[in-house]
């Protein structure tokens, strides 16, 4: 997993819960990297899972909710770092529909070793979108957070319903309706 996900995550934890919490979740986890992350490095996903679990147990907030918040934060990181990328799109539905075929392709170009989820497009109209998320990471709420922010970016909102196709969350249907 890209280092930026870790550094931004820890920055957010420090922001919301203080450096002590950062220290605590790192100390509680058994991390190969020792918690010393750099955005240019690549780290094992299990480190993120441990950090999330520990944060969840310390704060009492569910992992899904943590991911949601984190995703909303991460979106701003993307906005800041890749502004030209957003200019390609004029519509949130269009942008989300192209995750699989365009956005992830561009990501792979920049980060050849990135491990990305798949978004299978089931149905698309001008104002709605049905996609199936598949990933062994089960980080669907991270996706949800990014989607919410996407609509916000284009000054609109949407109701997004998640239906778990698999109980462990590795396969989830996103039903998106633009408001």
């Amino acid at each position: 997993m890209k280092g930026i996900v870790f550094t931004e995550f820890l920055d957010l934890v420090e922001d919301k819960f203080g450096l002590e919490m950062v220290d605590k979740i790192i100390e509680q986890s058994e991390l190969e990297s020792g918690g010393a992350y750099t955005s240019v490095g690549t780290y094992d996903f299990s480190e993120m899972l441990q950090l999330l679990k520990n944060l969840s147990s310390y704060t009492g907030i569910s992992i899904d909710d943590l991911l949601l918040v984190y995703a909303e934060h991460f979106f701003s990181v993307l906005e800041e770092n890749y502004p030209s990328f957003f200019k390609t799109y004029t519509d949130p539905i269009e942008m989300l529909a192209s995750i699989e075929n365009h956005i992830h392709v561009e990501v792979i170009k920049i980060y050849p070793d990135a491990e990305l989820p798949t978004f299978e497009l089931v149905e698309r109209t001008d104002n709605s979108l049905i996609m199936i998320y598949k990933s062994s990471r089960a980080m669907h709420h991270f996706g949800l957070g990014l989607m919410n922010k996407t609509f916000e970016h284009f000054n609109t909102t949407a109701s997004i319903i998640l239906e778990k196709i698999k109980e462990d969350g590795t396969e989830v249907k996103f039903i998106i309706n633009k408001n």
Partner: protein, 529 residues
């Protein structure tokens, strides 16, 4: 600050340091990778560059040395580049000429060209496109074109084409086709049988007439040996020899006895010529066949008839001789007996009886002459005397010496007479008869006979003119026929002019006459030189 906080900060600091170090390490590594990548790219670039230069000079060489015309045009037809051959083809002054090829298209071909150009744009290339163009000097040329589109970043920007002038080729092709068609029509329609065989005498081709002649269908003949089908072994040997001659390149004609499909014997006149391949080697022969069976039969019949005719002529001569001799001897006996009877009883006979005896004698004499003349006539056709060069002046002297010329008739030869290739005795008979006739039928107090001669290219024309009784025109034809005499005089046998006609014919000439009754007659005849 509590110890806990200090510891937290320390740990955070340591993590930051480690993170920095690992980031530096990663960056160092990436930078090294980048350095090598750059080196590699530079190397590749140089390679590509030299490859490009090489390819470019190769292409330039191809462009300049290619035998065919090579031209690049933009999408509107303007020439961007061309080689010398192309400039020559279009009659441009140089390869730098700024021209548009579309202006060379003939008006009637504009649709065809624009369609083809669309096809070229759509498919990227076009092959075996043939078109007439009008060159810069207004010559119409027929060209063959292979062309393709040149793309720049996927956009068609130009077209390149290789052109070849096929005007001559086209002309040759057309005249070749016309010749072939002519040849085909001749072979198919001619009334002569045509047969082509290879060096093994195996039939390669035969026309309809040959099939009709031979009675075989084409498929029964093709691939078979001609000699096996048509000839028996003896004739086959002839054919073999003729074929050998032909393999040496001789043409020839010969007659063949063949058997057709129905087993009938036919005679063919074959005119054969060797057949050559492109390298000039004899690969077989072509024979023209004419069925001469009917002609051959006629010839055979003619020969048979001639033989028969000759035989019956001989028999006739023999018969005439025999008859003449056999008739003459009883005639002489009668003559002798009559004269003895007359002499023995001359005292007892009265005048009338003596006169009758005289009449019997005259009649017997006339009969004797008649028989002699028949004998002469019938022996004319015989080649008893050999032909030779005859001086007609000698002939005339001889005639004058033997003939009785009465005092009141003059005979003049007005020209010097020529030498004639002929039979001297017969020529004497000829003049003797004509002069004799002129004397016989002279009724004037002063008679004359004139002989003239005129020379022509291939013959002499003679005339024998008299001032005798003349002959009516209605008799002109029949006087030449045997036993036709107009005056029943005692010394006319009616055979003289028949003899004249026959002798003239034997010497390749003709005889005719002009005559005015009571004024005289001129006989003309010709003799070949």
């Amino acid at each position: 600050m509590s110890q806990d906080n200090i510891d937290i900060l320390k740990r955070a600091l340591k993590r930051e340091k480690e993170a920095r170090k690992s980031a530096e390490k990663i960056l160092e590594q990436k930078s090294t990778e980048l350095y090598y990548s750059k080196k590699k790219i530079e190397e590749l670039y140089r390679e590509v560059e030299s490859e490009l230069t090489r390819t470019d000079s190769q292409l330039q060489g191809v462009f300049e040395n290619i035998v065919d015309a090579y031209v690049i045009i933009d999408m509107a037809g303007n020439v961007l580049k061309m080689n010398v051959t192309a400039a020559d083809l279009f009659d441009f002054k140089s390869v730098k000429a700024e021209e548009n090829l579309m202006s060379m298209v003939l008006p009637e071909d504009i649709d065809y060209v624009s369609q083809s150009f669309k096809k070229l744009q759509k498919e990227g290339s076009i092959k075996d496109f043939k078109i007439n163009i009008k060159t810069n000097r207004n010559y119409v040329k027929h060209v063959h074109v292979n062309a393709s589109i040149i793309y720049d970043k996927g956009i068609a920007v130009a077209a390149q084409g290789i052109l070849r002038d096929i005007t001559q080729e086209n002309k040759y092709q057309k005249s070749l086709e016309a010749e072939r068609e002519k040849y085909r029509a001749i072979t198919a329609n001619m009334n002569l049988g045509l047969l082509e065989v290879n060096n093994n005498d195996e039939i390669l081709l035969c026309n309809l007439s040959f099939c009709e002649m031979s009675g075989y269908a084409q498929k029964e003949l093709i691939g078979k040996r001609a000699s096996d089908i048509f000839l028996d072994s003896e004739v086959a040997q002839i054919i073999k020899e003729e074929n050998l001659k032909r393999q040496k390149g001789h043409s020839n004609s010969y007659e063949l006895k063949v058997k057709n499909k129905h087993g009938k014997i036919r005679y063919w006149l074959v005119s054969g010529a060797p057949n050559y391949n492109l390298e000039g080697q004899v690969i077989g022969s072509i024979g023209i066949h004419l069925d001469i069976t009917a002609f051959k039969k006629l010839q055979e019949q003619k020969e048979k008839l001639l033989n028969e005719l000759e035989k019956s002529n001989d028999e006739l001569h023999e018969y005439a001789h025999v008859v003449s001799h056999d008739l003459k001897s009883p005639l002489r006996s009668i003559n002798a007996l009559v004269s003895w009877l007359k002499e023995d009883n001359i005292e007892k006979l009265d005048a009338t009886s003596i006169e009758n005896f005289g009449l019997i004698e005259t009649t017997l004499e006339k009969m004797e002459q008649l028989i002699s003349n028949i004998l002469t006539y019938s022996s004319l056709g015989e080649q008893k005397h050999s032909k030779g060069l005859v001086d007609l002046n000698d002939v005339l002297l001889e005639v004058k010496r033997t003939i009785y010329l009465p005092k009141h008739i003059s005979l003049n030869v007005n020209s010097k007479l020529p030498f004639i290739n002929g039979d001297k005795i017969k020529l004497e008979q000829l003049f003797q008869n004509l002069i004799g006739n002129a004397i016989k039928y002279c009724d004037k107090e002063e008679g004359f006979i004139e002989i003239n001669c005129q020379e022509f290219d291939d013959h002499f024309e003679f005339s024998v003119k008299d001032n005798g009784i003349g002959i009516e025109e209605k008799h002109h034809e029949k006087i030449f026929k045997i036993f036709n005499y107009l005056n029943k005089s005692k010394d006319s046998s009616g055979i003289g002019l028949s003899i004249v006609k026959k002798i003239v014919s034997l010497h390749g000439g003709e005889v005719w006459l002009k005559s005015v009754v009571n004024e005289g007659t001129t006989f003309y005849f010709t003799l070949k030189k």
